[in-house]
């Protein structure tokens, strides 16, 4: 089987999230000596024993050499060039409001024990979007402390439980264990601590997620987990993408859905491809810009260039900001919008809302269909009666004109007359048609459920005149008109946020700028005493008639004045995109901004963590990792060096430690989660998927040290290599003379994608007890053109086919992951291997 052009085409993948861990912070200058170690300890207010311990580690580290046996190649690291302490600034505010968070997200986070992201203050956030690092939800802390489980940052543990730290720290990974562990012991900044008391099953999965993002533990973190007699705990370490929201111009999207190759709109209202996505840690102020259409509020970093016409350049007099009346029309028509850093914007400046110029007509979508779609979005739903899929429109009995219109449209489109039923007590009229096809089309082009109503991409690209057909019927259904003198105010209210912004765009293409504001959820008491709860909704407003327009059309943009500028402190990630073509700009909530000029770092960063697990008699620890750190670009520039020491000790009888890892990130991974099986009948497990693409290098595996009698271990390792990557499995199974009846089973499989990658397997075995059983299976296979072609011939796309084949290969390991992680891992895998998008 030769890996042919199709497999190769799939390997041109770029990574989705590049990030810089730098944060503006209270830092020590680069360099390392005893005074630096002492300074770290002092800054953290540590007791003397810990300082002594750090210094011992440091002195030993000086005598050690960096290991060279791993199959990884990198430029020598200058340890004097690293800053060993950088504490993030304390965030100034910690607002809490969960009303606006998608309930689905909350459910997932709740299961994971992940803190809840308040989004109220970020309601308008788009591009330089945000992780809230402050809100560690207190609810789950209560639950844990009720159960007696200690779960806190390492620093807190040093302060509050020094006796546990003194007893267990370094008892599994001694300071002198290896070069990187010694370095970590000397300079570690923070990390996580877990203690599960005897007999307690930890009531939830614990996650480092918030630790990393809240405490910014940085490059040298330290984790210590202790499960006392009969206790059990499952711990997740990983980096889940957040719920940040990005706008595409025509559609709002969560940042995790933005991918390289995606199409966004630029400041000319044309399509542009996303070439690079950057994420960086950021501590500082964000500028929150509220235009005269408050729902379009957005936040950016102060240096982020925003496209505006400064008011002072086109002003006639000095009337109040926000008014357009005092603008000089001649000056205005001669003015050219310019990019100005957000930090320099002033109230009254004119933001640019570019009008989408993309047009792709689809003749097979008839005008009748578009009109019916408008009614559907306003009044319709997809439902089932007696298991038959149906589309239903509900009107009031005072709207016979609309009912007749819908009946006629359905009849023309489906050839069937829909049924019309009257609900007299409620003054309602229902139009129902049983058509699976119509259900499908309505759902596809109009969305489902009131809050999920949205136009399809196909619709959003239709010529404006055709879009207007749906707009008209939508407003017949959901709009209202109020006449004030010669001004006609036109309003529509929707609970779908997506739809509100889409309507704004469709209107803009039809030469009208509509304003949107958010109406918060509220409860209303009716005259009969009933209470009605209204969901949060978006109100669209525009007016017709003399002197009505408050946004000016200027060439291909609408100019919308800035109403308000706020500054809020922010600590967390910010995002930025780079587009493929000129101008390098994109739209945030419809408004044009330039690419942020903050650079992505090119140098590599060292990450040297230590994780120690201790399981006493009958205790169980399950440790799962999903790691997707920045692997460097497709040329191997940048990326994280991940040199991690992870070890668990089954100290007690019948104890069990299980490692599961999915490693898709880092430029270099050097990592061998291991088990020391001291207690009789103890069990160690290692399940691993390691993916290496482009120039990534992974040298990973495990060590199982059998000391006690009847100890058992299982190793399942799946390595996937693509591009120029090198993937090495290195495993040691050591059975000491006392390990009577010990058993090991090892299975190592490697999968190669493409002709230039490599996989190596180094299984070491030392068996010093004749009663032991050791089994080893290994295989290397290629995703050949044969498997791929087979799937293609059945109609699957090449990308789907590779994803399917790879996840089949990894199935045994994914089964070991907690459910939410398994889904995440699967997604990560397809991201890591995705290529040839478009």
């Amino acid at each position: 089987m030769s890996a042919g052009p199709q497999v190769e085409a799939l390997l041109g993948q770029k990574y989705r999230h590049g990030f810089v861990t730098d944060i503006e912070s209270d830092s020590l200058p680069p360099g390392l000596d005893e005074s630096v170690v002492a300074a770290i300890s002092r800054k953290k207010g540590e007791p003397q024993f810990l300082l002594d311990w750090r210094l011992r580690a440091y002195r030993h580290w000086l005598t050690m050499k960096e290991p060279a046996w791993a199959r990884v190649h990198y430029k020598p690291i200058d340890y004097q060039d690293i800053s060993y302490y950088s504490a993030p600034k304390a965030p100034a505010n910690a607002p809490k409001s969960l009303d606006e968070v998608d309930p689905k997200l909350l459910a997932t986070y709740a299961k994971l024990g992940i803190p809840l992201h308040e989004r109220a203050r970020l309601a308008g956030v788009a591009v330089d979007a945000v992780f809230d690092s402050v809100s560690v939800a207190t609810t789950f802390k209560d639950k844990l402390s009720k159960a007696g489980v200690i779960f806190c940052s390492f620093s807190d543990a040093v302060r509050n439980h020094p006796e546990l730290i003194q007893k267990y720290l370094g008892s599994v990974v001694p300071t002198a264990d290896n070069f990187f562990a010694a370095l970590n012991s000397a300079v570690f900044s923070d990390g996580s601590f877990v203690y599960v008391p005897p007999g307690v099953r930890c009531p939830m999965e614990l996650s480092t997620y918030f630790r990393i993002n809240a405490a910014k533990t940085g490059q040298f973190e330290r984790t210590l987990i202790i499960a006392a007699e009969g206790a059990s705990v499952s711990y997740l370490e990983g980096c889940l993408p957040g719920d940040e929201e990005i706008t595409y111009g025509d559609e709002l999207r969560s940042v995790r859905d933005v991918a390289i190759g995606d199409t966004v709109l630029n400041s000319l209202g044309e399509e542009a491809r996303v070439a690079k996505i950057m994420r960086r840690g950021y501590a500082g102020e964000l500028v929150v810009i509220t235009p005269r259409s408050p729902a379009n509020r957005f936040s950016v970093t102060p240096e982020h260039p925003v496209l505006v016409i400064p008011r002072r350049t086109v002003q006639r007099g000095t009337r109040g900001p926000g008014r357009l009346a005092d603008l000089d029309t001649r000056k205005l028509s001669a003015a050219t919008p310019q990019f100005i850093p957000a930090g320099e914007l002033q109230v009254g400046d004119l933001l640019c809302y570019p009008i989408n110029t993309v047009e792709r007509d689809v003749p097979s979508i008839s005008d009748d269909f578009l009109r019916l779609l408008g009614y559907y979005i306003a009044k319709g739903c997809v439902t089932q009666f007696n298991h038959c899929p149906a589309v239903e429109w509900s009107f009031g009995s005072h709207e016979p004109g609309l009912v007749n219109d819908v009946v006629a449209l359905v009849e023309r489109l489906t050839g069937k007359r829909p049924s019309v039923s009257h609900d007299r007590p409620k003054n309602g009229v229902c139009v129902v048609t049983y058509s699976k096809e119509l259900c499908y089309l309505m759902e596809t082009h109009g969305g489902k459920y009131a809050h999920g109503k949205r136009f399809s991409k196909t619709f959003m690209d239709l010529p404006p005149a055709r879009q207007k057909l749906a707009l008209q019927t939508y407003y017949l259904g959901d709009g209202s008109v109020a006449n004030r003198g010669n001004l006609r105010g036109i309003r529509a209210v929707t609970v779908s946020r997506q739809l509100a912004f889409q309507l704004q765009e469709v209107w803009s293409r039809n030469d009208v700028f509509v304003f949107i504001h958010r109406r918060a959820a509220f409860a209303e008491t009716m005259r009969d005493g009933r209470s009605i709860r209204h969901r949060e909704a978006w109100v669209l407003y525009h007016s017709e008639g003399a002197r009505s327009r408050r946004a000016i059309r200027h060439n291909n943009v609408f100019l919308v004045p800035v109403l308000k500028i706020d500054r809020i402190p922010h600590q967390g990630y910010v995002y930025n995109f780079e587009t493929l073509s000129e101008p390098h700009s994109y739209l945030v909530k419809g408004f044009a901004v330039h690419n942020c000029t903050a650079p992505m770092r090119d140098e590599n960063q060292l990450h040297a963590a230590v994780v120690e697990l201790v399981a006493l008699d009958d205790a169980r620890i399950k440790y799962s990792t999903v790691q997707n750190w920045y692997p460097g670009d497709e040329n191997g520039i940048g990326g994280i060096y991940n040199f991690v020491t992870k070890r668990g000790e089954c100290r007690g009888r019948n104890s069990k430690i299980s490692w599961t890892q999915v490693e898709t990130g880092s430029a270099i991974t050097w990592k061998y989660p291991s088990c020391v099986l001291k207690g009789d009948n103890s069990v160690g497990e290692f399940y691993s998927v390691a993916v290496a693409n482009n120039f990534q290098q992974a040298d990973t595996g495990t060590k199982m040290i059998h000391i006690g009698r009847n100890t058992r271990s299982t190793i399942v390792s799946k390595g996937i290599s693509a591009g120029h990557a090198e993937n090495t499995y290195r495993g040691l199974v050591k059975i000491l003379p006392g390990a009577e009846g010990a058993r090991n089973f090892t299975q190592c499989d490697s999968l190669l994608l493409g002709p230039r990658c490599a996989a190596h397997t180094f299984p070491y075995m030392e068996v010093r007890n004749p009663t032991a059983t050791v089994e080893h299976e290994a295989s290397t296979s290629k995703i050949g053109e044969d498997q791929l072609f087979y799937c293609l011939q059945r109609g699957l796309s090449a990308e789907d086919a590779v994803n399917m084949i790879v996840s089949g290969f990894c199935k045994v390991v994914f089964k070991e992951l907690p459910m939410e992680f398994a889904v995440e891992a699967q997604n990560l895998l397809s991201v890591s291997l995705e290529g040839a998008v478009g």
Partner: protein, 250 residues
């Protein structure tokens, strides 16, 4: 439905097909026979869109579209199916999962809604019953650990689910015992209809006892040497291929 004109194909510089002409109409079943190395499988693979083969000249029109210009997955979605001579194993990928993804890919491209898991399960159970396959197939990996006969049966099962317009079955009969051959033939026959066509690539006349072809072609030296009705297959069984190959050279 399918019209092949003067098709020339080479693999790694070696010429395999030297001007194949063939036309298949809707409703017909054609059999292609010929000695080993005559280019039968190459023809099937080229039509399915395998990339290792270079079409040096010629044209193939499928349902009015230029087949050779379409990528493999497009051909499949347009209703072209290849029953593989050697179906590959894809470990860990559930047999049914692949088949459901395939069906939905096809439906999606036709603008039809995807079938949900429940609908699909009842569909596949019905087809499996028809093919006398045990339900354990539902949970196994694609062709993983299947016997030769099971793999071939699985190919026909996939065909029944996907309901292609044109199916080429590449030696689907080889490696089958008599009972399995009957079942596979029933499967193929059940799809016969005025809207569909089938091309059987085979070495043996035996298959044609169960699936009566409208035309039989003999492929040799990369082109069609002789075409006829079912009696040609019987004659081949008696006389072998040599007389045809020799007369072609002469």
């Amino acid at each position: 439905m399918l019209k092949i004109t003067n098709l020339h194909v080479s693999v790694a510089g070696k010429q395999i097909l030297n001007g194949v002409n063939l036309s298949v109409n809707a409703g017909e079943v054609h059999a292609i026979m010929g000695p080993n190395g005559s280019g039968k499988s190459t023809l099937a693979q080229v039509l399915a869109g395998r990339e290792d083969y270079q079409v040096t000249s010629g044209a193939v029109i499928f349902e009015g579209r230029d087949l050779l210009a379409m990528p493999a997955e497009e051909r499949a979605r347009a209703g072209f199916f290849l029953g593989f001579q050697y179906p590959v194993e894809i470990p860990g990928v559930n047999n049914v999962y692949l088949l459901k993804a395939a069906l939905n890919a096809k439906r999606k491209s036709a603008g039809l809604p995807e079938v949900d898991a429940y609908e699909f399960l009842s569909l596949i159970k019905e087809k499996m019953k028809f093919m006398h396959m045990s339900e354990s197939f539902l949970t196994r990996g694609v062709n993983e650990g299947f016997s030769g006969g099971e793999k071939k049966r699985n190919e026909v099962l996939q065909m029944l689910v996907l309901e292609p317009k044109l199916a080429i079955l590449d030696e689907t009969d080889s490696g089958l015992d008599i009972d399995a051959l009957k079942i596979v033939s029933e499967g193929v026959n059940s799809l016969r209809g005025p809207q569909r066509a089938t091309i059987l690539v085979t070495h043996y006349q035996r298959l044609l006892d169960y699936i009566a072809p409208d035309q039989v072609h003999v492929l040799g030296g990369g082109r069609i040497l002789k075409s006829g009705d079912k009696s040609l297959a019987l004659e081949l069984e008696k006389r072998g291929y040599d007389w045809l190959v020799e007369s072609a050279v002469a």
